[in-house]
């Protein structure tokens, strides 16, 4: 189920509405091993796609391929028909280890500013943008703080804010809430859902938490280990036809949710070595 971007939110509407990314029988070798094998799927602007699968089956490499940090060894990754040949500023990654992806020597505002500086936004305009981005993630009151004064959840919000500053057409999230406690995780899930709806970006969200995948996604891609150990290929794509906006209590009690959950669980379990 696609969402149309809400206009006038500072999102680059042209980039967000037209994005179409396609994985076409992509293969990737790392360390001499074929980590990803014949993976095909597609992703469009406004979609929220969750990827689940056992650890070590190449989910993170998948993200890096999409970001242009890796190049595929076979097959092609096409963006609007053209192959991705490197990183581009409108693709943002939210890393799981947020502490390592932020600058400890800059304040909260300074960290967000980095993305704007990189894009060449003049100093006068930066302050306003930083403020509105921080408000969007709920860090407005903490603009002058340093990383060591922030909790884990706040640091992850900061990373999200910096990624939003890139005005991403494609937002890649690598198990972003894996290192956070359950309550923070729930709060951030809803926030990310709302932000995604607002900006209309395409979101690829990696998680090992099946509940989270179904709760957040329009579609769930279940990767499973391939015929060779450590290799992944697509097992199934599950469309998630739950109504939006999602609610932590109501959605998770929806019979459709439970059905999807069972189906996904059995899928993963059956494929477990």
């Amino acid at each position: 189920m696609k969402r149309d971007p809400i206009p006038g939110n500072g999102s680059s509407a042209s980039g967000a509405t037209r994005l179409r990314v396609r994985f076409d029988r992509v293969g990737l070798d790392l360390g001499g091993r074929r980590i990803i094998n014949e993976l095909s799927f597609s992703l469009e602007a406004g979609e929220f796609v969750c990827v689940v699968g056992p650890s070590g089956c190449g989910k993170t490499s998948l993200l890096r391929l999409l970001a242009g940090l890796y190049q595929p060894d076979s097959g092609a990754i096409l963006r609007d028909g053209k192959p991705i040949d490197g990183p581009s500023r409108d693709v943002a990654i939210v890393f799981q280890d947020y502490g390592r992806a932020l600058l400890p020597w800059r304040t909260v505002a300074g960290n967000v500013s980095l993305a704007l500086e990189a894009a060449g936004v003049p100093a006068k305009l930066r302050d306003g943008r930083i403020r509105s981005l921080l408000d969007q993630v709920g860090l407005g009151a903490h603009a002058a703080k340093f990383l060591n004064q922030l909790s884990g959840g706040m640091q992850q919000r900061l990373q999200i804010a910096r990624c939003l500053a890139q005005e991403p057409a494609l937002l890649l999230m690598d198990e972003p809430f894996g290192a956070l406690d359950a309550m923070t995780r729930q709060a951030l899930q809803d926030e990310v859902g709302a932000i995604a709806a607002q900006t209309g970006a395409a979101v690829l969200f990696i998680t090992h938490d099946l509940d989270e995948a179904i709760y957040l996604g329009d579609r769930v891609l279940a990767l499973v280990a391939g015929p060779v150990r450590g290799q992944s290929s697509l097992a199934r794509e599950l469309p998630v036809a739950l109504p939006r906006p999602r609610d932590q209590l109501a959605s998770r009690e929806d019979p459709e949710y439970l059905r999807l959950r069972r189906e996904l669980f059995e899928l993963i379990r059956d494929e477990r070595p």
Partner: protein, 250 residues
């Protein structure tokens, strides 16, 4: 906390008193162990009437000039090394080989090249002091968090922007540690240089004091040298704390 500091001060006082007793009882010959009182007097006289102050300034000047040259060159060279794995492969082994070389061993070469002149001392100080800065800067720049390098690629930061916004702040703890070590080496080399080249400074002064059996003056000079070392280090540490305030864990 305060209690322990006071207690510690008492212990220091006790040590000084013991020293005084040993000197008074002539357990060690006063030729080479003056009493603390005599040392204090020599310090006072030297600073007020004598030229202890100007001698100290001389040593400090030589130390600081050489150290500044070394630090700037060291950071730049270390930075170049740190960001270029190719350069590192070619240069690192040679540099690692030179690391355990005593800086003072360069002194004879310096004397051969420049004679027993002030230039020689500054050159040797600079050459000796460059190694800690360069090596630790290279390490700092090469050890930038890989996650941040990926972020920089995604944001498509230019080489220069990466160095200034991410590389340098990330390397700063290592750079500052190297700079501090450099100062210690600069002091040592300045003193040895003075001893060899008969330059006006504390090194020369304590050598002369020893040769003329003026133990109190000798000890006064040693105290001044310790003060120079201590103050220099304390100043740098203060700068380091301010520059690295973001590191403090709450």
């Amino acid at each position: 906390m305060v209690g322990w500091n006071v207690g510690g001060a008492f212990v220091t006082l006790a040590v000084v008193l013991a020293w005084s007793a040993v000197a008074r009882l002539r357990l060690v010959s006063p030729v080479f162990l003056p009493s603390p009182e005599a040392t204090g007097q020599a310090l006072w006289a030297g600073l007020n009437q004598g030229d202890l102050a100007s001698l100290t300034v001389g040593t400090v000047e030589r130390m600081v000039v050489g150290w500044l040259l070394a630090s700037i060159a060291g950071v730049v060279l270390g930075g170049l090394l740190g960001v270029s794995p190719a350069l590192r492969t070619y240069l690192q082994p040679t540099l690692e080989f030179m690391r355990p070389l005593p800086a003072s061993a360069i002194m004879p070469v310096g004397i051969a090249l420049f004679g027993l002149t002030p230039i020689m001392v500054t050159a040797v100080v600079a050459f000796g002091a460059i190694w800690p800065v360069m090596l630790s800067s290279a390490h700092g720049f090469s050890a930038v968090e890989p996650r941040l390098t990926e972020v920089a690629r995604i944001l498509r930061l230019s080489r220069l922007a990466f160095l200034v916004k991410i590389g340098l702040p990330s390397a700063l703890p290592d750079v500052l540690a190297g700079v501090r070590l450099s100062l210690t080496i600069a002091l040592i080399l300045a003193v040895v240089g003075e001893m060899l080249a008969s330059q006006q400074g504390l090194g020369m002064a304590i050598l002369l004091a020893a040769r003329s059996f003026h133990a109190a003056d000798l000890f006064a000079g040693i105290v001044m040298l310790s003060v120079v070392g201590f103050v220099g280090n304390a100043l740098l540490q203060a700068c380091e704390r301010r520059a690295l305030a973001w590191q403090a864990t709450t």
